[in-house]
Amino acid sequence: MDWFFTLSTAVKVVLSIVTLLTIVALASYAERRVSAIIQDRVGPNRVGVPLTLFGAKKDWAFFGLLQPLADGLKFILKEDFVPAHVKKFYFWLAPALTMIPALLTFAVIPFGSTMVVGEHTVPMVIANLNVGPLFILAISSLSVYGIVLAGWSSNSKYPFLGGVRSSSQMISYEISLGLSLVPVLMVFGELNLSKIVDYQNHNGWLLLPAWGEGLSVERWVLMIPMLISFLIFTISVFAETNRMPFDLPECETELVAGYHTEYSSMKFALFFMGEYAAMVVGSGIIVTLYLGGWSLPFGLLQNDEGSIWKSLAHVGCFLTKVVAWIIFFMWVRWTLPRFRYDQLMRLGWVWLFEIALANVFLTAVIIMIFRK
């Protein structure tokens, strides 16, 4: 293991965590602005640089972009209150367990084309695993422990109900999440996310096969099962990240605040950030598998020579797509009503599960006909 590999990996790890947390912070701001736009309000638009404190005439507001900083400061300065009836160890463990899996899954998502620095090549992914999608499923399936433990250790009714709900919800939707991925992996014949994105870069995105080998009848016929798989996967991601319309674990109207009712200050903020980080990573996976990852549409801006600037442009492209998806998540949250719990379970077990299973066979038949 040479020093350059270690150094570049360390740089990538630090930069991706910083970027991820920045996006999370900005997302908490954007959520309020998007909801404000949808509900015809203004939203938080004041927190900026308080120049009037230093004798200037006006403050710099920056559209309130510094709101997340103020929020963070508030969370840290607030009293960290631990109720007497909780089980302390698990109560402290739970927030960390919701945050860490979301950060870990980011390790296998490729976020740019390979860079050549001097004589070294630097792939723009932290861990280039041959089992990328499985790794993501495995680690994200661990995030349920945080919520379950939070609900159980709080030792009170509402959090417990939230925890029980979330564990059954996440187990149910994990099935359709995994099954909807199978057709995609059958089309690519590959479990390495970097290779999957590279293939899409040259031969058309999975949902936009408009260049390279993508211009074949097979790929266009395969669009039918791919669209189904895309829809199921997206719906399941909504359920797995506990976002509206599936945010039953913290459903305010029934459960006060669900599993994090008893939490305050920074421990609550960790749950909050964990949810947003999961959303960012979920968007990243959707973009990587279905929408070409870091590649531009129509095979524009190929980077076979490993130019640093083109590579950075690809990183920018990836981030743009992810941010667009996050805004879509918010849009859904503020325009759709919440499901009832039995409806949620029926959708997961009776509809999505069966359709995903049938979709696997449909894809297999199409592939068999075209590649015979």
Partner: protein, 176 residues
């Protein structure tokens, strides 16, 4: 693989494995088991068996143990914690462990090939372990795979039959 990592993860697996047995709180035991599984997965990964390691986390830590925890959370944990150690059971367990260790050490010491160090096997990194496992499963062990599939199907049908509610002869809302 770096040797310190192997010892670290083996130790982790074993410590949490012991934790499963000696904890009186079922939730703590379940969590120890999860941590132990993750240590085992790390050992798989360090042997370049990424697929096995991932599946270990995905199936055991991510699905099976979540269900366990789900059931345990619905139990009365205080009653479980109040229970005292049953001396007869502990003694019986110790006898079993000692017997097993004696047998194990006698078998291992009788195996002469284990005394010399294995030469470093060349690792073929061009082959994907997923592809190789898939090929083996669907060529040499197709029949066994089908049998397991049928077994799971039978279990699923059994669960549905057992948990199905009895149809009530007259539903109350149908009354005029």
């Amino acid at each position: 693989m770096p040797e310190p990592l192997f010892y670290f993860f083996s130790l982790l697996t074993l410590i949490f494995g012991v934790g499963v047995v000696i904890n009186r709180n079922p939730v703590a035991s379940a969590l120890c088991l999860v941590a132990s599984f993750i240590g085992l997965a790390a050992i798989y990964v360090s042997l370049n068996a990424y697929f096995l390691g991932t599946i270990q986390v995905l199936v055991y830590a991510g699905a099976v143990m979540v269900l366990f925890l789900f059931i345990i959370m619905l139990m009365d944990i205080r009653a479980e914690e109040r229970r005292k150690f049953n001396l007869v059971a502990v003694g019986g367990g110790m006898v079993l462990v000692i017997g097993f260790l004696a047998m194990f050490s006698s078998v291992v010491s009788g195996f002469k090939g284990g005394e010399q160090r294995l030469s470093q096997l060349p690792l073929d990194t061009t082959k994907s372990d997923v592809v190789e496992i898939g090929k083996t499963l669907f060529t040499d062990y197709t029949f066994h795979l089908q049998i397991v599939g049928v077994l799971l199907l039978v279990a699923t049908v059994g669960v549905v039959v057992l948990s199905r509610r009895e149809d009530r002869p007259s539903a109350p809302h149908e009354a005029p």
